[in-house]
Structure formats: C-alpha cells, structure tokens
C-alpha cells in the first residue's frame, strides 16, 4: 500500500499553491497600502475602514446575509416534504429520481439562471400566461429586477443541495422513534417538533453549508435577475476589483471567505458532512 502522505501529496500541492497561498497572500495584501499594482509594505486598516465607513456597502452586506438566509430557509421548507417524497418512492426508481435531482446542478449554471429571464421577463412565460388568461392587461415588471426574484432563482439553483442533504438524513432516521412517540399519544405536530426536527438537524445544518454559502457568493443571479435593485455583496467586490482597487477588494474578499470558512468549521460536525460525502 502506498504511504498515506503520498496519496495526499498531489491534492495538497494543488490546494496549497492555488487555494491556500492565494488566500493567505490576499489577506496580507488587504492590510497593506496599495495603489493600483504597487504594494507599499506599510500596515494599514484603510481598506477595511473604507468598507465600514460606507453605509451603502454595509447595507448591501446585511441585505446579502438576509437574502442568503431567506434562500436557505425556503429551500429547507420546500425540501422537507420533497425528501419525504423521495424516501417513499419504490426502490427501483429511487436512484434514478435522485440522479434527476442532482443532474441540473452539475451543468449549465449560467444558462439555468438565464432561462429564468424567459419566465419572469416582460414577454416571459408568466406575463404571457396572465395576459392570455385576461388577468392582466399589460406585462407586469415586478417579476424581474428585485431581491425577491433573486431569492426565487437562488432557491431554484440550490434546492437540490438541501433536498439531498435532508434526504440522506431522512433515509437514516430511525422510524421506530416516530412510532414510539405516536404510541405514547403524541399528536403529529408534536412528533414533528419534538422527535423528527431534532433528528433532522444534521440535514438542516448541511443545507446551511450548501445553500447559504454559495448564495452569499452569488454574482450571476443578482447581476442578471436582480439588476440595479437586486445587487449583492459580490457585485460590490467585482466593481472594486474591476476599478483596480485591489486593496479594498482584497479586504472584502477576506471578510467573506473568513466568514464562510468559520461557518463550515462551526457546522461541519453538526452537519455530519462525512455522511453526505460518504467518508
């Protein structure tokens, strides 16, 4: 058998040079004085203060966190009955139906966001349908370019993750506990709150990792579905970096990545990631 360290050597090299090192150097750059491409080796907090002193930026960060939270909660609520549906499918088709859930999210990410313009747009499916039914006279514009449409599309993008996390959890849930609670006279709602929900916490935490985090880093959806009114934090990061304000951009990336890593580390155990990943 190959020595253990050799098995991990290639992936360690890849992750160290192309992931850990860029993140580390960027975090150092974020506390340096930097003008365009030139770094002056002098410590400063100005990049962080610039962000904190701009109320608009702080507001967008808060709004982005709220939108990510809304996306996660909606995904979990919709995934609960869906996961129950999946576990009750006949075993012969269960695997195929699971693959159908995963399939879209490994492909054509951009196109799946874009496709929503043909649903929510002025001449899209919803406006067309409502006009044909005579419910509205002219197209309504509120369907696109706001925070709600961004959350809707994000739920569409990330619901496969929460569905799979909850399904994995539900599959392993000991049904006899539910029957026992029922036998002891608990009402269905009590069984759900006191027995099912606590046992589903790993799936719920895992959903936070796989829905909340990517949504917090969304750029495509707020840009084309949200427009000027549906901006999120990464839109600001992108505009800073495109304006070559690397110091401020680095500071903001650092804050976001640090937040994400802390979240993963905090939820990792509770989410039982090894159950979902398989090791």
């Amino acid at each position: 058998m190959v020595p253990l360290f050799l098995a991990f050597l290639p992936i360690t090299l890849v992750d160290f040079f192309f992931f850990v090192l860029p993140m580390l150097i960027m975090s150092i750059v974020s506390v340096m004085v930097i003008r365009e491409f030139h770094i002056t080796p002098r410590l400063t907090a100005e990049n962080y203060l610039f962000f904190l002193k701009n109320p608009l930026y702080v507001k967008v960060l808060a709004k982005s966190l709220l939108m990510a939270l809304a996306t996660t909660v909606i995904s979990i609520v919709l995934s609960f009955p869906f996961a129950a549906f999946l576990t009750r499918l006949p075993p012969a088709i269960q695997r195929t139906m699971l693959v159908l859930v995963i399939l879209p999210f490994w492909t054509s990410y951009l196109l799946r966001v874009y496709a929503w313009m043909t649903i929510l747009g002025e001449r899209g499916l919803i406006n067309r349908g409502l006009m044909d039914l005579g419910i509205i006279e002219s197209p309504i514009r509120v369907l696109l370019y706001n925070d709600f449409s961004v959350v809707l599309v994000a739920v569409y993008l990330y619901i496969p993750y929460s569905a799979l996390a909850l399904y994995t959890n539900l599959e392993r849930l000991d049904r006899s506990l539910i029957r026992a609670a029922m036998d002891l006279g608990a009402r269905p709602i009590q069984v759900f709150v006191h027995v099912v929900l606590p046992l589903m916490l790993p799936g719920i935490f895992a959903s936070f990792i796989f829905v909340f985090i990517p949504m917090l880093g969304e750029y495509v959806t707020p840009t084309i579905i949200g427009g000027a009114h549906g901006l999120m934090i990464v839109n600001i990061i992108v505009s800073q970096i495109q304006a070559l304000r690397f110091g401020i951009g680095s500071a903001m990336v650092f804050v976001l990545v640090a937040l994400i890593m802390l979240m993963v580390m905090a939820l990792r155990k509770a989410a039982r990631l090894e159950k979902i990943y398989g090791f």
Binding site: M1, L4, F8, D15, F18, Y114, V234, V253, V257, G278
Partner: protein
Amino acid sequence: MPVALGIHGAAIYLFLYLPIALLIFFSFNKNPSGTFPVTGLTLDWYRQLGDDHFMLTSFQTSLIVALTAVPIATFAGTLCAFGLVRAEFRFKALVSSFVLMPMVVPGILLGAAILVVLRTVLGVPLSIWTAVMGHVVVTTPYAVLAVATRLYGYDRVLDSAAADLGANPLRVFWHITLPLIMPGIIAAALIVFTVSLDTFGVTFFTIGNASTLPMYIWAQVEMGIRPTVNALGTFFIIGSIAILLLANLLLRR
C-alpha cells in the same frame, strides 16, 4: 404515499426542469427576441451559431482549459480518494472537509484572490493557464467524490487473494485494483470535464483577455435574451447531461 406529497414532489421536478425545457423550446422559435410569442419553427439560430467565430474560439479555449484540468484533477483526486477511503487516521473528517472546501467556497472569491496575487505580488499576466489553476482547484473535489464512490464498493478480498497467490503490492494494484477502479476514474474524468466546461466563477477573474464558453455566454446574456444563446444552451445542456449520465452509469456497481 399521500397525494399531497406526490403533488409536491412532481411540482419540485417541474420547478427544476421547466426553465431548461423552455430554453430548449425557444431555441426553435422563429421570434428573434428569443421568447414569447411563438412565431414559427426554425433552425436559423443553430445555423447562426455555427458562423459565430467568437463562440467557436471560446469553445476551443474551454476545451483546452478542460482537457488540461482533467488529467491533473483526476490524478490528484484519485490518489486522495484512496487515502480517504482505505486509510484510517486521526482528523480524517477534518481532512475531508478541507479537501472538499473548494466545492463550497464561491469560485469568484477564489478567482479574485488569485487575480490580486498574480497582479500585485507576482506580476504574472493573466492567461488561460492562470484560469487552469483555478479550474484544477475547483474540480478536484468532484474527482475525489466520484472515485471514492467506486472504491466503497470494492471488495478488498480480491487484493488479498492476489497477494496470497504471490503478487507483490505493485502487481496487485496494477493488475487487480486499478482495472476494477477504472470505471470510477473515467467517471471522475468525465465529471471534471463537464464541471470545468461550465465553470464561471473562478474563470471570471483569472482568464484575462481570453474567453471560455461561459465567458462568451456571459457577454451575450448581459445584453438580454438571445435566440442564439438558447440554441447554444440546448447543445450545451443536452451534451453535458449525456456525459453526466454516462459517468453515473460507470459509478453503478
């Protein structure tokens, strides 16, 4: 199964597939606005796509990036999967979390970090090779998961049997383990390939003046709905779903 649960399940599948179905549907619609109303059937958008040189060069770049990332990510991912599945060691759960972290951290943030380091510290110009770096990091976890899936179903009695018959560890690996794991490795390569073709986030900041297929689509999409994008999307979605189904087939035991 309760009826309400069945209806909810069907509604979720509709939600997941309706946008894709509409995109494919509109790619055959004559209306140049690429959406309703339906004004007739046409293959014009597919024909226009074939004449679009920017699209063709972007596709070529995507292929170069993906085909460079595939061997590196598959090799690193395969070895790592062996380590994670076959060995028991302390902090294994922690190691696997770190290994799979690039799947969770938004690619655009990693791309931004790579860009800042290359431009301010190293002074290296951006090119498709700097994009390859990002693609390798982002796709390797997928390779790890694919090979690990296959390794779990592997009966290690086969290895012991070969060893009992006098094969040295290298021969056992080369003649027994590797051929049996090969479908998993091929599946990993296919998945890495499709994920790389589709990767937008990490490419956005690292590719410089070059353009991959997602960068091309992005440039088009920012201008609104395009019928040619519907046609390209149809190709892309059907192609990648076919590859992923093949990968899934290889992972079945």
